[in-house]
């Protein structure tokens, strides 16, 4: 494995109870890279992220994070390697205030963003920090879910559908944030259904279909491989 590689998923199978969702997913993400997993609903993108962080019932194959095999690890140990997870349903806690939500994940490494930096990036969160987490608007909750993993010092961010169901102006704001995070050197896996959101941000895109990687497209090839994307995603 090359030194630049931060995440390597190979032959990953995942199950929810009896149902077999992932059938051998293979992909790699290099340090500082932003990779997007695209695909139709039910293709297995969200499950891929959950399997990386250890949130599926059963998994097999290999997940290497920063050179370490974690496929058998409990999820809190994987997170402590520096993996920040932002779930599709946002996972804002109703029994915690906005700020308590923000401060919940423990520091896993030095170099995370300070509370001041986060509030500078998301001024709304500072205004609403004493509110119950789930009283925030959908956009604010998404910002909170994203901000929550920036504090911890995690260098690998797993972002699941962060643009889903939000107003265009907020989607634009989130796009800017992801761009800033790339500049700061974060390694990002972006699961998206919104191709227009993901395409300009991602260095590479993987198309997931039936629990496998069906295609890999580099940013430079996007234009010429339009027909491939069209075929898989219907766009």
């Amino acid at each position: 494995m090359s030194a630049a590689e931060y995440l390597r998923v190979s032959g990953l199978h995942a199950f929810y109870g009896e149902s077999h969702i992932l059938h051998g997913v293979d992909f790699t993400v290099n340090r500082g890279e932003c990779v997007s997993l695209l695909g139709r609903n039910g293709a297995g993108r969200t499950t891929t992220l959950k399997a990386i962080i250890g949130l599926v019932g059963k998994r097999s194959g290999s997940v290497m994070v920063n050179g370490r095999e974690v496929v058998d690890w409990a999820s809190h140990k994987i997170a402590r390697l520096g993996v920040g997870y932002c779930p599709e349903e946002r996972g804002i806690y109703a029994s915690l205030t906005a700020e308590e939500n923000l401060l919940l994940p423990p520091q896993v490494a030095s170099g995370g963003m300070s509370l001041e930096e986060i509030y500078q990036m998301f001024p709304n969160l500072q205004e609403r920090r004493a509110s119950q987490g789930t009283r925030l608007s959908g956009g604010e909750q998404q910002m909170l879910a994203l901000a929550r993993v920036l504090r911890t010092g995690a260098r690998l961010l797993l972002l699941d559908e962060i643009s889903e169901g939000l107003a265009p102006v907020i989607v634009q704001k989130l796009g800017e944030v992801v761009r800033q995070l790339k500049e700061k050197g974060f390694t990002i896996v972006l699961v998206e259904q919104n191709f227009r959101f993901a395409a300009p941000l991602a260095d590479r895109l993987y198309v997931i279909e039936h629990g496998r990687v069906a295609a890999e497209i580099r940013q430079a090839e996007l234009r010429q491989k339009q027909d491939v994307l069209h075929q898989y995603l219907g766009i």
């Binding site: 962080i53 806690y93 994940p105």
Partner: protein, 296 residues
């Protein structure tokens, strides 16, 4: 002697204090039950047994090892808490993914075993434990004689209950506990060792029950059955307050103790059932309990 509704104030105040003492035990026990249920999703039927063990161990500590009440107050909850942690690791942790009914059955079985063992050793007639000498004289408040030990039980219970509430609702550790209660898997994915937290929560909840047991030793009959006599009322308190609500458990516990005490003055025949009548009424009007949140 002044009278209110034909009852002397001395008798009324006496029952009020006694009600608060019982309410303190309700509060300490239902608090632990509520915390455990929230975190482990287990209805801990052994709670009363651990309360009993707390009291019996206090007696054993004094009679076998000469350990005083004050040392017991600190040591017994610690020892019983460690026992609880061992039980959690050995038995309970395998049940979390199953229906809560299994946890209830297992802890009910444990309660029967503990009761049986102590019954075999000490019988059911009750063991004597005298009130610490600092509390032997009653306090003359002018309008009533207040037994000092009762005042102490109420005071220390309030302090412990409030401290627990503060820990859970106002601190970082508490926020982590609340998060793990709400969504354990996601909380673990944020890097928090949830299984460890669950284990310690069970130990803490049980330590509270044992603490109540130590407090009860000088004022109640120490008997292997004292837990099961109390626990049914405690379950009613938890249901009235709302499953999983911390503040609900404390306030409801104290309030029901007082209501029970006053019922004993004005209509003694109903004093044993008033808690259950209130429970039935509350369930009719608010099925989630007075402080409970409806499951969405």
């Amino acid at each position: 002697m002044t009278e209110i509704f034909g009852v002397s104030t001395q008798a009324l105040l006496g029952q009020l204090v006694l009600g608060l003492v019982n309410g303190s035990f309700y509060a300490l026990l239902s608090l632990g039950l509520a915390v455990i249920f929230g975190m482990l999703n287990i209805i801990n039927f052994a709670h009363g047994a651990f309360y009993m063990i707390g009291a019996v161990m206090t007696w054993m500590a004094l009679n076998y090892f000469g350990i005083s009440y004050w040392w017991s107050l600190a040591l017994v909850p610690l020892v019983v808490g460690v026992v609880a942690v061992v039980i959690e690791r050995a038995l309970l942790q395998w049940l979390y993914k199953l229906d809560p009914l299994y946890g209830l059955l297992l802890t009910f079985g444990l309660a029967l075993i503990f009761e049986g063992v102590f019954r075999n050793a000490y019988g059911v007639s009750g063991l004597p434990y005298s009130i610490p000498e600092q509390f032997s004289e009653p306090l003359n408040l002018g309008f009533m004689l207040l037994p000092k030990y009762r005042a102490w039980v109420i005071l220390v219970s309030l302090v412990v209950c409030f401290a627990t509430w503060f820990l859970i609702e106002k601190t970082r550790l508490g926020a982590t506990l609340r998060a793990a209660t709400e969504n354990a898997k996601l909380t673990q994915a944020f890097g928090i060792n949830v299984p460890l937290l669950v284990m310690l929560t069970y130990g803490f909840g049980i330590a509270l029950a044992a603490f109540a047991g130590v407090l009860a030793a000088p004022t109640k009959q120490i008997s292997p059955l004292m837990g099961s006599n109390l626990i049914i009322g405690v379950f009613a308190v938890v249901v009235i307050g709302g499953m999983g609500s911390i503040l609900g458990a404390i306030v409801t516990g104290l309030a029901l103790g007082v209501i029970e005490g006053l019922t004993r003055v004005f209509y003694p025949e109903a004093s044993a059932t008033v808690v259950f009548i209130i429970m039935a009424l509350v369930l009719l009007v608010r099925p989630a309990g007075l402080f409970g949140k409806r499951e969405s």
